[in-house]
């Protein structure tokens, strides 16, 4: 195995470290979070797309189905992964433990970032974030969801897990992954294939490009992503929270309007509660005119946890982004 990096690769890593350092500087200097976080997040997502598409990584076909390495695929077929681990354990076939190692990685990331993964580390989230920021103002107003749709990502997660289990294939990958659109399928172009391609196109075109562009909401992350739902159940093992100080909040609802993932609901706001889907993007904190919102540790509003959160996020996000360098 060749472990010596060429000059070009070294230069790319150096540039990435400088870039992350510059983002850290801007975040500290401006005292605002979302804008510079977004620059970092979008850059990472596009680095991933270029790396993924240029490396010929298997996104469909037997190799991809054996061990999907993407966090969305793993979460949405978690029972299959667990079963594979069981088989690997029984057979003593240690190389097949790969997904389990990813499980430990996930645990570490979740302990450090929790739900913040979805705005600082996820290499898909930056795509709809990028499109949601192209226009200065939303052309279509979409501030909130009907309450009953709030759990749609969790429903998609549940259905994906069950169908993956029954078909022994990662169902979300095969039916809704937007990155599959440009991938050639090996099997014939029958009705099933055309349906799959149609759904890929709808997810990419609708939820990642068009609706974010028109509404300034991250529609894929907020409404469809099974990993977002997964993290919303586990994210609380991490201590970072977005909290609202009741005495400073005037109920102006600006935070509801700007939240890109519909994580603050009007009902919750009355109780000064942010939903578990909040991915710590900081948009609401920057927008709140009275400074009522902020990052806290376990909801302790006496101490501002912003810089600690930024440090954790940039270390983890920077390491993840570093994997996509040429």
């Amino acid at each position: 195995m060749n472990t010596v990096l060429g000059r070009g690769a070294l230069a790319a890593r150096g540039a990435w470290v400088l870039f992350v350092g510059f983002i850290a500087y801007r975040l500290a200097r401006t005292g605002r979070t979302s804008r510079w976080r977004s620059v970092f997040f979008v850059a990472m997502a596009w680095a991933f797309v270029f790396q993924f598409k240029s490396s010929g990584s298997p996104s469909t076909g037997p190799r991809a189905l054996e061990s999907p390495y993407c966090h969305i695929a793993i979460a949405s077929s978690i029972l299959n992964q667990a079963y594979n681990q069981y088989l690997a354990f029984r057979s003593g076939h240690w190389p097949a433990w790969g997904p389990l190692s990813l499980g430990f990685l996930w645990l570490a990331v979740t302990l450090v970032l929790g739900q913040a993964w979805c705005s600082w580390g996820c290499f898909y989230g930056g795509l709809d974030e990028g499109f949601s920021r192209v226009l200065p103002k939303a052309l279509l107003r979409w501030n909130s969801l009907p309450g009953r749709l709030r759990e749609l990502p969790a429903a998609i997660l549940l259905v994906s897990i069950l169908f993956s289990l029954t078909s022994v294939l990662p169902a979300f990958c095969l039916w809704a992954c937007p990155l599959k659109l440009t991938t050639a399928f090996l099997d014939p172009n029958d009705l099933t294939r055309r349906l799959q391609l149609g759904l890929f196109a709808a997810t990419l075109g609708g939820a990642i490009v068009l609706l974010p562009l028109l509404t300034k909401k991250r529609v894929f992350c907020g409404l469809l992503c099974p990993f977002g739902a997964w993290q919303s159940f586990w994210g609380n093992v991490n201590p970072f929270r977005v909290s609202i100080r009741a005495e400073a909040c005037t109920q102006c609802r600006l935070c509801v309007k700007v939240c890109p993932t519909f994580a603050i609901e009007a009902e919750g706001l009355k109780e000064h509660v942010v939903s578990p889907y909040c991915n710590r993007c900081g948009e609401c904190i920057d927008a709140c005119p009275t400074g009522a919102m902020g990052y806290t540790l376990l909801g302790d509003k006496t101490w501002d946890a912003r810089l600690l959160l930024i440090y954790c996020c940039l270390v983890v996000g920077g390491a993840v982004g570093g994997m996509f360098l040429p």
Binding site: R148, L149, R150, L158, V159, L162, L165
Partner: protein
């Protein structure tokens, strides 16, 4: 007769994982949504579902032993596709009623007897969907050519597969939180759309 019982039971035990797979997308969201975190309630709903499945098996067994030899296409044909379509549509309707109980069209149904009897209907409709083990059992029925023997055989098959349904009981205590319940109601709708689409595709 003992041999027949043993054979049916063994077939059920050997192939029950398939049954678990066929029922999971339908049953798991329903139990998560309706068990209200109570193990006993979950167990009762599971029993009702199983009763529906048993009824479908017995009916099918009787019909297949009588008619199977004359109409070999019965099992794989339109009855099954219609069952799939119907169970899918039922799930979608159920999801709408549970997710939007205050809508004027849903309100009368929210606590109705029809919705309460759904586990039996779901069980029945899933029961007439032909999965590989069920089809294997049907082939045997045709050779038995006796409705009574066929029903005994399928009752034993049912008991064998039931072992694999028990893990669904873990869904009941999980469903304590309102988040999981509303996710499960929506999941029923999504899975229902899939089943309905599949049924329609096979019908056409």
């Amino acid at each position: 007769m003992t041999l027949l019982l043993g054979e049916g039971f063994a077939l059920g035990l050997a192939t029950g994982l398939y049954c678990l797979g066929a029922c999971a997308p339908l049953l798991a969201p329903y139990l998560l949504c309706e068990s209200e975190g109570a193990f006993g309630r979950g167990a009762r709903l599971l029993l009702e579902f199983m009763a529906g499945r048993l009824a479908a098996y017995l009916l099918f067994a009787a019909a297949a032993s009588k008619l199977g030899a004359r109409y070999p296409g019965l099992a794989g044909g339109r009855v099954v596709a219609a069952g799939l379509l119907l169970s899918g549509l039922l799930m979608v309707l159920y999801a709408v009623v549970r997710s939007a109980p205050r809508l004027s069209v849903c309100a009368p149904w929210a606590d109705s007897a029809a919705v309460r009897r759904l586990p039996f209907a779901f069980g029945f409709l899933v029961g007439i969907n032909v999965c590989p083990p069920f089809a294997a059992g049907l082939l045997r029925l045709v050779s038995l050519a006796s409705p009574a023997k066929g029903m005994v055989y399928f009752a034993a098959f049912f008991v064998g597969t039931t072992v694999y349904m028990l893990p669904f009981l873990v869904a009941a205590p999980l469903s304590r939180g309102p988040r999981l319940r509303s996710a499960a109601a929506l999941a029923s709708g999504l899975a229902g759309l899939w089943f309905a689409g599949l049924g329609l595709y096979r019908l056409l």
